[in-house]
């Protein structure tokens, strides 16, 4: 170890490894992953979120959650901010997930269009 900069570089990199054990995520993303969710395509949705978080270094944690009873509207994605305010997106697919990431997670803008049922 030759300098503080070097230490801080290691720290930044390592922080990604332990961050999800800390309580400091900007958003928590909950994805319904019960049988109904998985059948409706929740897995590709989760993959999209995971890849985006990794690529853009977002301060976001992903949690799987069980069935909340609205199986017909799965895959359901809930986004909770630090104040505890919850936004529920329904019938999400990989491309919608990408839009949600760009708008909600990166710019803080809720995508109203996907928060209610369309069909």
């Amino acid at each position: 170890m030759k300098s503080l900069d070097e230490l801080n570089r290691i720290r930044e990199e390592a922080l990604r490894k332990v961050n999800l054990r800390q309580n400091n995520a900007q958003y928590r993303v909950l994805i319904g992953m019960a049988t109904c969710g998985i059948a409706a395509g929740a897995r590709p949705v989760m993959k999209t979120f995971l890849e985006a978080i990794d690529k853009d270094q977002l301060q976001v944690t992903i949690q799987q959650t069980g069935c909340i009873g609205m199986c017909i509207h799965e895959p359901i994605v809930e986004i909770i901010d630090q104040a505890g305010i919850k936004t529920t997106y329904m019938q999400v697919n990989a491309s919608k997930a990408q839009e949600i990431i760009e708008s909600h997670l990166k710019q803080g803008k809720i995508l109203e269009a996907y928060t209610h049922v369309t069909k």
Partner: protein, 598 residues
């Protein structure tokens, strides 16, 4: 990209209930579900709640599982990790007293809610075998700050200002100790970490070394810089194999990353650490005996002064600090002395780790601010006595400490309060005793330990403790008189006054404190020849309650001395007191609770 971390406790407690097999099974099951890129299994140090081990924590869900067995792993992986449904039956819960609803969030569980973790800050959060995880949580920042921005004297001033006192037992101010060593003009000085934790029932030092070894390494380098030393020893007992192993890994990694060695942080300062294994002698926790042991001599204390700060290992100025003391130091440098001194009481700053043991619901490791009351620790965090029995006493400070009673429960815990009550902080062992514990027997247990561990160098300790043990044996066997008690007390005071080192000087504490607070139990043993807690076998009488006896004969069948007679199905059984050896087998064999002990 990882979304979930499965933290499995790999401390000594949980490892002994096979947590390492859990790690393997989790990894296998996760691979079978093809989740290995999303879910990582991490081995961590102690979570503190050893009673409920093996402990598994799932993040970021903040779900805490207790008593996890191999058979539970499939369910956790299938239900929780795959489908997102936490396995409620395994979760640690508390009941909210107002709403009567179960609390699942572990920060709100009483065991954790009252704690403040400084020394244990990383235990149960990071993988102790990965230095980068320590660095991620501000590890080695304090060392960088000290080496790049502070002079040695500034470091010492910061320690003095923080009010940190030695956590190994004595409570000596750490800053002053460093100042003494720094004032010595000598080109060779040493830093020693005392990890010879020997009190029965204390395991905080082991847990820190197992869960967060880098915090100790970082602090030792800081201490070395402050006093002008370039070499450090960790003196640790060989009975702690996991701690030794993790420490070795940590030292190797610290060397690789340049936290140990030459020219640390390009500051020109160099420091090295060596491990010295002790064979587990209790006296080697005493600093002069410890130094002798490091030098390869027999571990025996010598007269102080000269203090180690003047003439220590190899005759050179040496500071010796305890593991927990060291673990506090990086946090003090990072957050400032003012932050640290804002926690705790007027003369005892910061927090203290206690190892809860004995007749308590939540056996384990807790860290609370100084000034927390015994009642809060025992009842709110510890959950009270096992099986709703009545609390009798709490033994603090191990064989050097004493017993405190119910009257003392509201005393704020700090160094000076405990000493004033005739006990001491010690390293922080806290053994809870209930109505079924005989206080004379407890004193006898500790004296037995001391007799084994006395090094034999000075007469008061070598002979005095042995004679005290004999007197205590007499009392528990019903051979004691009032004179025995008077002799015991007088001898206890002599040993306390005239022993060479801390071991002998404090060896009488369990006797003196039980005599002070539980004199009536001693008197019952010598006058009534009865043991009120029904522990001392020689003083017990067994009899069979005729009305409760179902004449099944099981008691007679199990009696090793054929002291019980009766007629199967016809006549109630009776015990012949002459033949009875008071082994208690009949009590255990009787399915109807018809055998009385008095």
């Amino acid at each position: 990209m990882e979304r979930t971390h499965v933290l499995v406790c790999a401390g000594t407690g949980c490892t002994s209930s096979k947590s390492l097999e859990l790690v393997k099974r989790f990894e296998e099951d996760i691979r079978m579900k093809d989740l290995q890129n999303e879910i990582k299994v991490v081995k961590t140090g102690c979570f503190g709640l050893c009673q409920k081990g093996p402990i598994v924590a799932i993040h970021p869900d903040k779900v805490f599982y207790s008593h996890v067995s191999l058979g539970d792993v499939d369910e956790i992986v299938n239900e929780h990790l795959y489908k997102g449904r936490p396995v409620k039956r395994l979760e640690i819960t508390d009941i909210d007293e107002e709403t009567k609803e179960a609390i699942f969030e572990f920060e709100k569980i009483k065991f954790y809610a009252k704690q403040k973790r400084i020394a244990l800050r990383n235990c149960g959060t990071i993988n102790p075998e990965d230095v980068t995880e320590y660095i991620a949580l501000d590890g080695y920042q304090a060392l960088a700050k000290v080496l790049l921005e502070m002079t040695p004297q500034q470091v010492i001033e910061e320690m003095k200002k923080s009010g940190l006192r030695g956590r190994g037992g004595g409570g000596f101010p750490t800053g002053s100790k460093w100042q003494f060593a720094a004032n010595q003009v000598n080109d060779e000085k040493y830093v020693i970490c005392n990890a010879d934790e020997g009190d029965p029932g204390a395991f905080m030092d082991r847990s820190i070394l197992e869960g967060d070894p880098h915090s100790v390494i970082e602090a030792m380098v800081i201490a070395g810089y402050a006093i002008g030393a370039h070499h450090g020893y960790v003196y640790i007992r060989a009975e702690y194999p996991i701690a030794v192993e993790r420490l070795k890994i940590a030292i190797t990694q610290a060397e690789e990353y340049g936290m140990l060695g030459d020219n640390i942080f390009n500051s020109g300062y160099k420091f090295n650490i060596e491990i010295r294994l002790g064979a587990g002698a209790f006296v080697c926790g005493e600093e002069t005996a410890l130094i002798a042991s490091i030098e390869g001599k027999r571990g025996m204390p010598v007269v102080k002064p000269p203090f180690p700060a003047v003439k220590g290992v190899w005759g050179k100025p040496t500071i010796i600090n305890n593991v927990e003391t060291f673990a506090n130091i990086p946090a003090i440098i990072n957050n400032g002395a003012d932050w640290f001194s804002s926690i705790g009481t007027e003369k005892s700053k910061g927090t203290k780790v206690f190892a809860l043991g004995g007749k308590i619901v939540n056996t384990g490791l807790v860290e609370v601010p100084m000034g927390t009351t015994l009642r809060e620790v025992i009842y709110e965090i510890g959950g009270g006595c096992l099986n709703h029995k009545n609390f009798k006493a709490v033994q603090t400070g191990g064989p050097s400490g004493g017993c405190l009673t119910e009257d003392h429960l509201d005393t704020p815990i700090d160094f000076d309060n405990l000493v004033a009550l005739g006990s001491m902080m010690g390293s922080g062992g806290m053994i809870i005793l209930d109505e079924d514990n005989c206080m004379v027997d407890v004193a006898r247990f500790y004296m037995d330990f001391i007799v084994d561990e006395s090094c034999g160098k000075c007469t008061p300790c070598r002979v005095g403790t042995k004679r005290m043990l004999e007197m205590l044996n007499d009392i528990t066997e019903g051979k004691g008189t009032l004179q025995t008690i008077a002799d015991l007390e007088a001898l206890a005071l002599h040993v306390k006054d005239s022993s060479l080192c801390g071991l002998g000087q404090t060896a009488s504490n369990p006797v003196l404190s039980t005599l002070k607070h539980f004199k009536h139990e001693y008197l019952a043993h010598v006058i009534d020849k009865k043991c009120p807690a029904k522990v001392c076998k020689s003083l017990l009488d067994y009899s069979i309650n005729k009305d409760a006896c179902k004449k099944c004969g099981l008691c007679a069948k199990g009696c090793p001395t054929t002291a019980i007679t009766g007629v199967l199905g016809k006549e109630a059984y009776v015990i012949d007191a002459e033949k009875c050896i008071r082994c208690g087998a009949c009590v255990q064999n009787c399915p109807f609770g018809a055998v009385d002990r008095a």
